[in-house]
Amino acid sequence: MKFVKKAFFFIIICLLISPRLISQEPKQKTISCTYKNEDLKKVFEDLGKNYELDFYYTDQQIKNVSITVTINDKPLIKALDIILADTHLDYKIKDDTKIVIVRKKEPKMKEYEKKKFISGYVKSNSGEYLVGAQIIISNQNIGAVSNDHGYYCILALQDSIRLEAKYFGNKLSKDIFYLEKDTLINLVLSNIEIKGISITNSKDEAYETTQMSKLTLTQDQLKSLPAFLGEPDLIKTIQILPGIQKGIEGEGYLYVRGGGPEQNLILLENVPIYQSSHMLGLVPFFNSSAINRVEVLKGGFPARYSGRISSVVDIDLKNGNKKEYHGNINISPLMAELTLEGPIKKEQTSFILSGRRTYIDLIAKDYINSLKKGTNYDYQVYDISVKINHKISDKDNISLSVFNNQELAEYIYSFELPTGHNANKFALDIKNSIVSFEWNKLLSKNLNGKFQLFYNNTLNNIKNTETLSNSSSIKQNTSLNFVSSIANSSANFDFLYVPSNTHTIRFGLNGSYQTFNPASFNSLNLVNSTIPVAEEKYSFSDNYKVYGVKGYLEDDYNISNKLKASFGISYSFYKVNQKRYSYYEPRASFRYLLSDHASLKISYSSMHQYIHLLANYGYSLPLELWVPSNESIKPTISHQFVIGVSQAIKHQFELSLEAYYKTMNNMISFKDGSSIDLVKNDWKENITSGHGLSYGLEAFIQKKQGAVKGWIGYTLSWTERQFDEINNGEWFPYKYDRRHDFNITIIKTFLKNFELSASWIYGTGNAISLPLATYDTGGGWIATIYNKKNSYRLAPYHRLDLNFVYTRVKKKTISKWSLGLYNAYNRMNPFFIRYNEEENKFTQHSLFPIIPSISYNLKF
């Protein structure tokens, strides 16, 4: 009977009271009480009895609801806010003493004006911004994910706040508090240590956001995996992820969903990198000790990313510890590395300095050179990165980053001629330099801005000198010098605006000025002679000045609890010489929650690319020319559709399945029978444009927790090309069309200090054109006839890598010994095959047999 009475009143009052009648100031009754895990029904009964209040509710409403709360002399409204803060319930007050319990409503738009923002930055204890951290107001069931500068912004629905932050298993909970006004709260997660392996987003981020085809790596994860010669390599780690492939053995390029290596936007501190591999791919291009976090996007590109059509690899460097000085030393057979970081001014300004150098030239040069008299080989790679980070205030942060690397190769040889002594020197010099300044500012309660100014330069230089001399004088000196370069100056403005919890808006503008010099060449020939000397000074230079402007707008829109969408559009204007291009690129992504543990995502991206790579060697050589779109080369255009599901299985495993379909137009390639000839500078004459098509299915399952962690990835894919002047205009498989690509990686931790990791990869053999026959050309030469382009497959590629790590933790240092085994079962994978005319047979060449390695790492 009592229930019926309460229900009757409940219905009547609900009909009568539409908005919450808080505006009618209730009698200033103050409440004090303490409950620990108490049923709400009991709480209501006590309060009703002690403070002469009537509570109206149904048993169903408060079934299984219990609270823990301590209230001291709080006004009734505040007290009720606290009591119901962690529940799904709200209240309405009638006649000061009648309290109707109702279900919490979703707020209406106009109510936002009354609401208050919580915003700020999420950082680690050492001062690093945490990207992708989840910030939740747990009692309101709302939250946000920190952006690439650790910034978050949430519009609170109520004044009582229970704030939590999560980042890779680390959690921060703040006691409940009240918002008086818009509030800046910087969150610091202490003891951030991401152990083990996990290469997707955190579980919540994977389900919550509309972003798909995204993989994330951190420095610790990079160092957990088996590495070639004990040196962690970011690019080679990315190569084993699903949907991403390597080219040939040792190559340091990425082939993402059928795209070429030039189609990857590799960003270091938001600055594009053009070359991501050293020659022969032996030495890792990036210093993993300086890396904070890497994000890889294969599809579903947000509008803020543009300029490449296949992937984004976004690499953040560490900011440096703002509290303590730390260092890292890594020694491997390839190179030695030193990293130092610490505060310049405690809690305010930090630095990180990291440098590496190969030392094969120091330890093995004499031996190698002694093998052949008159020769001298030299090879070295070094890089250095410096970042200074300064906190001006809680709302302002600036940083300056400098990155520089250089690769030098030299080959000197000499011999005697009847006319004198002939000395030759051949040298390669490849440099990449970046300077970047960033200013990150919280412009208002819900608007974050970032301004960046950067300059980067890529320079390839090939020199050859030949000197002919006798005992008394130099008779002749010939020098050749080839230079290829790209310089890029750019200014970026990026903003993140959170008007409400249903919309997160990003917008920005970028202006850039680039100079491309695909090829310039000069040659000088000096001759000492008694007769007149031929004037032989040759040169040509091929320069392009490129002006670009880009703008973007994107909106993450929470349509409902289950459905979320992201819409974006990017506009780019591009001018090279007198040619202008401009394009709009629409993007859209949708996420639908199928259950608490599964989501369905769909995305579409339209992308343009104004830069092209001309190469026909398929290898990381300075002979590959970066050329801009121009009067004769149109920008490459792609459209990509992706659909996928993510599913958590028994809280330990995560499964994702994605299918993609990508078209690519205005791709360029050398015509059949053409190649780069630096001396002729005729590349414009020898290229043709065409189309590409890629589609496939990627499956990925990973285990993030427990003593055994790891993942299994499988890709089934097709990639084809069509050029009017190649293969008679017929479609043909791309050389890295790989039907099956499989990887299993396992990491096992045991006895606290030991870790064993194993990675096995398998891939369908590369597609090549096979010679079938020969014929007489009539000019005295025998020519070769090939079968249809790329219609023959090399043997499959497979390899097992092992890594064993022993960690010793002391009071102030952590040391690690790593024993590695590359290609553990000595598989002879095809690097290339060769037809030996003399012996009339085919031979297969393999580059790397089983290679053991040992490396030492010391953190202090």
């Binding site: 059949d672 000839d677 096979l770 050309t777 000019g779 030469w781 020519a783 037809y835 085919f842």
Partner: protein
Amino acid sequence: MRRLIFSNLILLTIMISCQKDINVNIPPFEQKLVANCWFTGDGKWYMKVTKTRNLLDKSPIEIVSNAEVKIYEGETLIEILPYLSNGIYGRSNGYCAKVGKTYIMTVSSPGYPVLKATETLLESPDVNDIKLDTINVVTSKNLVGHYATIFLNDNPNTIDFYNILVYRNHITPIETTINNIRYNPGDTVFDDLVHFHVNELIDKQYCHHSSWLVKDIFLSNSSTPTQLLIDHNSFENTISFRFEINSITEAYFKYGSSLGSYISGGLVELTGVAISFTEPMQIKSNVENGYGVFASYNGYEKVIQIE
């Protein structure tokens, strides 16, 4: 330079890489006819018919002696060429090709599809003169050389193709080469352009020669003299040079330049055929249903003697 870099890399790779013999199942290849035919405006003619040969077959290239080779001027059959020897088909009626006329060649042999190709004889180039400096200079190859200047009126509105040949009548056993070409004195293009010639059409009375295929990208300004630097390393009192400037069709240029790239690619000579390391170089052909080339050229020539 490309060759230098790549040669070093290939040699290094072969040295450090492990190798093993493998069995490659070469797909069956249907044997086809190969017709190589050149003719000129002054009545020279060369025609040879052979067959393709499977890659692993090391027997000599098979010649075709039973082919029926027909030559048409437009739609009109001019002659069915009689077989001479060694796969060569000659002419019997003394017909001389005419400028501006289009010629069609068909080659049929039992068991093979009929080959067909079309070619037009171009006008000879408009060369005002060729002059040779009398002063000896030392070239980049540390050889004695001379500058020659070609005064060519190239049509700037069309893309034209030329074959430049230089012969030297001398007994010194040093190859005469065109060291470089300048399209304007002071600027230079390099000595690595397409060297290509047809042995059978070389004038045998000159024992040393050099032949280039040139696109008029270097010659597109009609008022610009083109300068050649010629190695010859000869200090004798009298040297005789013969220059030929021939107009060629684009088909011939493509054939010759693709063959030139194939030959000078370096990999062929160094390593046999390094497959999968480079993109294959396919030789261009204007012969339907088979391989080879049907090409013509028409030229200007001048002999210059240095005392």
